[in-house]
């Protein structure tokens, strides 16, 4: 809502408050003012001139030589290039020395040999916004009203001496979508009176009116009132009215439309004027549209309606979409002489639904949506009738005609002083609270030491005690409320176990050199299809109205996000990438969601590129085992020592270099090299990634620390090297050794994997170092040898291993 400061002065005394001060006060009490701006750039030395004579320039067809009276002794000779300049016009004249908004400085000049002293200006030369002017005013020079005072500054004539306060209204304060509403607010802040516009037209309602009104859709329309006005002369509005509309950001059209807009701005009640002669019968029927019913609106668009949209009809044809836009078939034109003026109370939800569905938002629909004051229906209607009489020569036919159902009335709310203080932490007296209610012009009814507040219908945001407490708080001043700390039982704050573990996971991965990233949950189809980790049948979740194809689906894995981050970095000169993200993935097995999907918290990592350059050469490189080491270390930190890694083919991964990770039979994630094709697609070289499902991990995490006494007896070390088939998974050997070794096998360390033709075709040698210890006694050589031989036997029997000598 744009509020003209000068206009507002009509309703509330502002003689001692500047527009800037007013803006600050409004903002501090809850009506945020975004900006305070002058209506137009200040114009010095631009005055009203009167064109005494106009002659064609002897040397140039398109130029006129004008004699212009600017209120000084001598008329000025001014050359003008506009074709519409004429004798007898009042025009804006920029005098010598004036500076125009575009930077032009007016000097004495000679045009084709003829002297020109000053300049007759067009609207755009004055810095006016052409979008807010009728077309004829933007072409050529601007012609001013005949009654403008010659020689006076142009500023008051065009309303340039005004300021506009741009309100950023919260949805609850629709009452401030009207000048009167803002006036009530300002009056409450300043503790002043509100002046309602005077009107000599009474509120009389007739039953014998020539027009008949019928509300058939009571749910969507509670009150429909109208007036019939004859002998209307449609023409341009007086300048003051146009100035008001322009300040509010509305383009003047003609006096009838302008008056309805003016009254809408003043009262917050949208009005609509029908050309009465275009009605098929003297009747208004308010009904719901039929399915697929068509209407051509004022903007010449054909609209297809549904059966929940409210229509205004003349009983034969629809003539408006209620509260949203009129139909072209009943539009007021220059030929219109009889007007049926509508002032109605339409249901906000209904209007909102219709305007949203049709994508048609107007100043009127905006106000209906948020709720208008049902008690301003007559006031607005009569105010407009009065103005039509004054400014369009209209004659009122009879009084108001209407169909009225039940409309909201004033509400009574008990306001307890104790509750106010309990809620705010203040120490206010009853009288202070009452005085705030009085400033708001709310009624007060005393009742056994407490009081009821009578809230007028203009404040439909107030329906219970807490709403009144808020009024007290904001008018008393939030800055007056003290700062205290909650009084009550002390509670211990803290992280839950899972939250602690999550932070620990991050610490471990960062310790291994991985950088945390945060990416978007929405992905493209391409990304979605990059990897498929989940085995069960799930369907990707699609946004119903995505912003773009790139962000259309909910991610089912974080790995595609990490690939995207890696690609970005590779292409931005960061080739060595070690990243992780802890976040949510979304899965559902429904095509059309009826329940919330499964949200999995996962930890995913990706490593590609090289290790940091070091001048001392080492043969350490990033490969599967490098990344597996990081993951093993992470799991160990979480007390998980028995994770199993089994080869697995996973979409998006290298089929020979990928493992499924499980703990005690439960799948927790995957680890592997990204499929070379996918690597290529993301501009990557060898890249390794893992994704672990934390929801599965929680069951396995063991954070308990089991202290064991340090060993008292010595350990014995034996190495064992065996030759086995190349394809044999070493994990099998390890498991066999562990089981066979039993309790005295304290530790097993794989220290060599050797492949050579010397070992035989498709053979490899695997060497372990075994540590034996008994907690109770010193082991003898014989005891260890016995176990050692058992292990060897098991390897020979199970895997046809040969001891390597």
């Amino acid at each position: 809502m744009n509020v003209s400061y000068q206009w507002l002065k009509n309703y509330v005394d502002l003689h001692d408050i500047s527009p800037q001060e007013l803006a600050e006060k409004l903002t501090n009490s809850g009506i945020a003012v975004d900006v305070v701006e002058k209506v137009n750039v200040a114009l010095d030395k631009v005055v009203v001139g009167y064109v005494l004579e106009r002659e064609r320039h002897p040397e140039a067809d398109k130029l006129s030589i004008c004699k212009v009276d600017v209120g000084e002794e001598d008329a000025l000779q001014i050359i003008c290039g506009a074709s519409n300049v004429d004798k007898g016009q009042k025009v804006p004249v920029a005098l010598v020395g004036a500076k125009l908004p575009d930077g032009t400085k007016i000097k004495k000049a000679k045009l084709r040999g003829v002297e020109s002293i000053g300049m007759i200006c067009s609207s755009s030369e004055l810095g006016m916004n052409d979008k807010l002017l009728p077309k004829h005013k933007t072409e050529g020079i601007l012609v001013l009203p005949e009654d403008s005072l010659i020689g006076s500054s142009i500023e008051p004539v065009l309303g340039f001496d005004d300021y506009v306060l741009e309100l950023d209204l919260t949805p609850n304060r629709s009452d401030c979508l009207s000048m009167l509403g803002v006036a009530y607010e300002v009056a409450a802040i300043l503790d002043r009176d509100v002046r309602i516009p005077e009107n000599e037209i009474g509120d009389g309602v007739s039953n014998q009116h020539p027009v008949q009104i019928d509300i058939e859709a009571e749910q969507a329309c509670k009150h429909y009132a109208a007036r019939l006005i004859k002998n209307v002369q449609v023409m341009e509005s007086p300048q003051w009215l146009q100035n008001r509309l322009i300040a509010a950001g509305i383009r003047p059209i003609n006096n009838v439309v302008d008056i309805t807009n003016f009254v809408m701005l003043e009262y917050g009640q949208p009005l609509h004027a029908f050309d009465y002669k275009k009605l098929d019968q003297p009747k208004i029927v308010v009904r719901l549209a039929k399915p697929e019913e068509k209407i051509v609106t004022l903007d010449d668009q054909e609209r297809s309606l549904d059966d929940q949209m409210l229509l205004i009809t003349d009983g034969v044809k629809p003539i408006a979409i209620a509260g949203v836009m009129g139909a072209a078939n009943s539009e007021v034109t220059e030929q219109t002489t009889e007007i049926l003026l509508e002032s109605a109370y339409f249901d906000g939800f209904s209007v909102r639904r219709t305007s949203k569905k049709l994508g048609l938002r107007s100043e009127a629909s905006l106000r209906f949506e948020k709720g208008v004051d049902p008690n301003r229906i007559y006031g607005a209607l009569n105010r407009a009738a009065q103005l039509l009489k004054e400014l369009a020569g209209g004659e009122l036919v009879d009084v108001i005609v209407e169909d009225k159902k039940e409309v909201p009335s004033d509400t009574r709310i008990l306001l307890r002083t104790s509750k106010v203080n309990e809620m705010l932490g203040t120490d206010l007296e009853s009288e202070q609270i009452k005085s705030i209610m009085e400033r708001l012009k709310f009624g007060i009814e005393e009742q056994d030491g407490e009081f009821n507040v009578v809230v007028p219908t203009r404040r439909q945001d107030i329906s219970r005690e807490i709403d009144l407490i808020e009024e007290v708080a904001r008018l008393y001043g939030y800055d007056q409320i003290p700062a205290t700390l909650p009084y009550g039982v002390y509670v211990q704050g803290g992280l839950t176990q899972k939250q602690k573990i999550r932070r620990e996971i991050k610490n471990v991965l960062e310790g291994a050199g991985l950088q945390e990233v945060i990416s978007y949950s929405f992905v493209s189809e391409k990304q979605l299809k990059t990897v498929k980790i989940e085995e069960t049948d799930f369907r990707p979740i699609t946004l119903s109205m995505p912003l773009s194809e790139e962000r259309k689906y909910l991610r089912t894995s974080i790995i595609p996000n990490l690939l995207e981050v890696a690609q970005y970095n590779v292409n931005h000169n960061n080739p060595d990438i070690r990243i992780y993200e802890l976040g949510t993935t979304f899965l559902s097995n429904e095509i059309h969601l009826t329940a919330l999907p499964k949200e999995k918290m996962v930890i995913a990592g990706l490593i590609t590129g090289a290790l940091p350059t070091y001048w001392k050469k080492s043969n350490e490189a990033i490969d599967f085992y490098y990344v597996k080491g990081i993951l093993e270390n992470l799991l160990n930190e979480l007390g998980i020592n028995d994770a199993e890694y089994q080869p697995k083919v996973v979409e998006g991964f290298h089929p020979g270099r990928t493992a499924a990770i499980s703990v005690e039979g439960e799948a927790i994630g995957i680890l592997g090299q990204i499929h070379p094709e996918i690597q290529d697609r993301y501009d990557l070289t060898e890249a390794y990634a893992f994704e672990v499902d934390l929801t599965a991990l929680w069951n396995q995490v063991n954070t308990e620390i089991n202290y064991k006494t340090l060993p008292r007896y010595p350990a014995m070390q034996r190495d064992i090297a065996v030759v086995v088939d190349y394809d044999l998974e070493v994990d099998k050997l390890i498991r066999t050794i562990r089981t066979t070794g039993g309790e005295i096998l304290e530790n097993l360390q794989l220290f060599d994997v050797y492949v050579s033709e010397k070992l035989g075709l498709n053979k490899k040698s695997i060497a372990f170092s075994l540590t034996f210890r008994d907690q109770e006694k010193t082991l003898t050589d014989e005891e260890v040898t016995k176990v050692y031989n058992k292990i060897l036997d098991a390897l020979v029997t199970n895997y046809q291993a040969e001891l390597r000598k």
Binding site: R173, A473, S521, H572
Partner: protein, 344 residues
Amino acid sequence: MKEKLEQLQSLALQEVGQAQTMQEINEIKIKYLGKKGPLTEVLRGMGGLSAEERPIIGKLANDVRETIGKEIAEKEEVLKGKEMEQQLKAEQIDVTLPGKPSLKGNRHPLTKIIEQIEDVFIGMGFEIAEGPEVEADYYNFEALNLPKEHPARDMQDSFYITDEILMRTHTSPVQIRTMLNKNGEVPVKIICPGKVYRRDDDDATHSHQFIQIEGLVVDKGIKMSDLKGILLNFAREMYGEDTKIRLRPSFFPFTEPSAEVDVSCMMCGGDGCRVCKNTGWIEILGAGMVHPKVLENAGYDSEKYSGFAFGLGIDRIALIKYGIEDIRNLYTNDLKFLKQFKRV
């Protein structure tokens, strides 16, 4: 005998004097003092001596042994020192060569700020609550006093999946879920951090996904002044002891009275600068007293209990704190960007 011993001694000392390496010294040691050495021989041959001569020669032999031993020991010290010196010299390295790079990643700047804020509130007795990112319309809107078709829903344009399921537009639904789980018990004292989603085209200041932290306290006798006190504490922990806060009336459907909360500008201390657009204040929070309808929806008697809630955007705080010019940088994850947030 005596001459023989003296001769032996002078010979030995001469050899010791000439020895250059530890190995030579060791050989000398064995040669003269070893089990098969001449001294042992002398002592062995003492049987043939007279009773008078025996102690004299015995003492002399011991003296010779001691003298030689002492000389050897001294020489050993000298040679060891020399050898060590040589060894150290040989082992000298260029200490100016760079060390082996060790790898260390760090938190994303948003996580750093979340954890910092979490820790501040944990210190004030809060717990951390979490909830789903895909929410039911009921929890995201209706329970929060935002019925369908409520005009205030326009404040948060949302990503729907079905008519009833959407991406949460704030973390407030976690408040509802937490209260419902508590089954009417008090106190409730939580903060809820998490990702939220709104239909905004991404640009320098807007992101369709961002991170929010909301707080909620419900108990008997919770007042708006308590909200002010807690937020003042928070602001001081985050931005320093001298930080001030300012509450301005505002509107949120789920709180009443509602407030926008400004903190005195941490860049200029309130004198006015580019960051605070010369106002001295920076808006960081929305807050208010929990609307009685919300309490009722979550199973609390609003006559008996009251509460306050607040919410802040982490991305915005990060942008201000680090002077980051574009919110998209937080989600592009350029390593050159992320690596700058290493410090504690």
